[in-house]
Symmetry: C2
Subunit: 156 residues, 2 copies
């Protein structure tokens, strides 16, 4: 039985971008997609600025008791006509720092996102997880998600 590490969920700041990209890159699928260089390529900061000024998007980080960033998650609240005009919450880019896994950090972040989406009037929260991420799928099912859809992607 592993101890739970309580974390604080807070909005990401510009000076978190390096740590966040580090977590995105430290992943079997992310490794080939990111460029973790020092200094970090400027497009990451441009993307941060774009999402930071979008009132429907919240990029958050999980901070441990020492103030270290140990996880990240992006929540988008998307208005739409379907389901009686209910907004939808879309969860993306959930990552927990490798040495901090299995301590309930991902669960605290996803529960935060579910609560936030409910508070914003969503009737549905959705996410795509790669079909090879079997542990992630089990994790989401445990939190109440259904593997109800096929997530289709087209990369350019």
């Amino acid at each position: 039985m592993t101890a739970i590490s309580p974390v604080t969920i807070r909005r990401a700041r510009r000076d978190d971008v390096g740590v966040i990209v580090g977590m995105l890159a430290d992943d079997p699928l992310g490794r080939g997609r990111e460029r973790l260089e020092d200094p970090l390529p400027p497009y990451y900061f441009r993307a941060f600025e774009a999402l930071d000024r979008d009132s429907n998007i919240q990029l958050v980080v999980a901070e441990d008791g020492d103030g270290a960033v140990v996880g990240c998650l992006q929540l988008c609240i998307l208005p739409g006509l379907s389901s009686q005009g209910a907004s939808r919450g879309l969860i993306e880019d959930v990552r927990v720092a490798t040495p901090c896994r299995s301590r309930g950090i991902g669960e605290q972040m996803v529960q935060w996102a579910i609560a936030e989406a409910r508070a914003k009037g969503c009737k549905l929260v959705e996410l795509l997880t790669h079909h090879t991420r079997v542990d992630a799928q089990r994790f989401y099912v445990r939190l109440g998600f259904q593997p109800s859809h096929v997530g289709m992607t087209l990369r350019f």
Copy 2:
């Protein structure tokens, strides 16, 4: 061999909301979720106003040669840090009016969304389709999508 009906894709207007909700409701999954009443419940118009003022969201309709609305699609352009700070396009609520199916209207709408997402700098377009919508999955594969992900949903 069925003829292709060329359509014009244009931004949805407030006076299209009734037709769009009609298409959302005329669907095995949508039937139980929508309320197609006259007058239409006001929450649909509130949702339209919310999405219409969101610069990252485009709700579009397909108009046939007679100016009739025969399809709809919502495209969200979502900034994010992953994939080197590339935005993602999310396609939602794709519908074609029942009597107008199999005439290439869905394909014209989805191709419009792909081109629009590319033009806005996206490197990825994604969507969730219910696992029972086998024809839809075949349709998206034909347009170049991969069934690479599991789409997980949590409804409140």
